[in-house]
Each structure stands twice: as C-alpha cells, then as structure tokens.
Symmetry: C2
Subunit: 102 residues, 2 copies
C-alpha cells in the first residue's frame, strides 16, 4: 500500500519547485541560457547556480560555459537521464492531479 | 514574464512531497488518523509529526488528540485555508503538466 500514493513516486531532487522549473524549461529546447532561466523563474544568480549544481551533480543537466561575442554565457542542457527523471515526475503529478479530481 | 512559469505559483509549504501527500489525503475525508497517514506515505512517526507541525502552524491542518477505546489517537483534518492552498497547488501542477505535454 505504501507505494500506492502518487507523492511516494516523487524525487526531491526533481520535485523541488525551482529545479522542477529548470528541468521543464530545459526540456523544451536543445539548450537554454542562464540569464533566461533566471528571469523566467525569478531567481537570483546565486540561487539558480545552487540548483543547477544539484541537477548537474545528479547527472540530469549539463552546463557549458562560452561566449556570445565578448559576453560570457552559461548554457544548460538536459541529459537523457534528466528527461527520464522529469518524465517520471510529470507522470506522478498527473496521477496526483487525477486522484485529486476524482 | 517571471510570473508566467507554472512553478512560480508553487508554495514550498504545500509543494514539499510529503506535505503534498498529507494534504491530498486529508482533503479526501473529514478527518484522517495519524497511523493511516504514516502507512500511506511510508513515513516515520517523527518525520510525519514534523510535517504535520509545519502544516498546522501554517493554518492548513488541525490536529486533535483523543482515544479510540483505550488507545491514544491523533486525528488530522484539513482547514478551509488548507483546501484553498491545495487547490492552488493542484492548479499550478495541472498547468505544468499541460505545458510539458504541449
């Protein structure tokens, strides 16, 4: 019975609201720029960096530093594991919403 | 733009996976017993107590201690604010799932 409830299928690394936002946005394109994420999720640079580190360390994202002209840029991409983890989270959330609506 | 992303509408008090589980189950009936929650969410008594305290302090749940025969029991009920907060969370999750599926 303990595995039945949809929230038991949630992983804190992915479920945390800002990390869930980062992964959702990263899943929508090949790569996404740090500043874009910061603005879209209304985060400070430090806070965003910390969450990105957690996701990179978990193998869910890659980070690449480079230049756009002379401006330094950080690009973030979702890994295959990241897509799988997000898919699992979204499936659990879908089940939770369905249970709530029933 | 910063308010557009569905995860920006999530509140950490409600979004945390175990608290989300507690609120979802509490919303399904008039009151729910501590041991039932513990088993359904696969939590230790200490961990469940800590999350219940956060939710009671936020005004989202009430806790009532009593007896079932000679056995002490703790009953948990969701408040009107709790239902509203859960509804807001579920709406944001629904938007997130829809965005992911689109």
């Amino acid at each position: 019975m303990s595995d039945d409830h949809p929230t038991n299928g949630l992983d804190d690394v992915v479920h945390q609201k800002h990390r869930l936002g980062i992964l959702t946005i990263a899943a929508e394109s090949k790569r996404v720029e740090f500043g874009y994420l910061r603005e879209a999720l209304d985060l400070t640079a430090g806070n965003l960096s910390r969450h990105l580190t957690v996701l990179v360390d978990a193998g869910l994202l890659t980070m690449e530093k480079g230049y756009d002209g002379k401006r330094p840029r950080t690009w973030v991409g979702i890994t295959r594991s990241g897509r799988a983890a997000l898919h699992k989270e979204i499936s659990a959330l879908r089940a939770l919403v369905a249970r709530h609506d029933s």
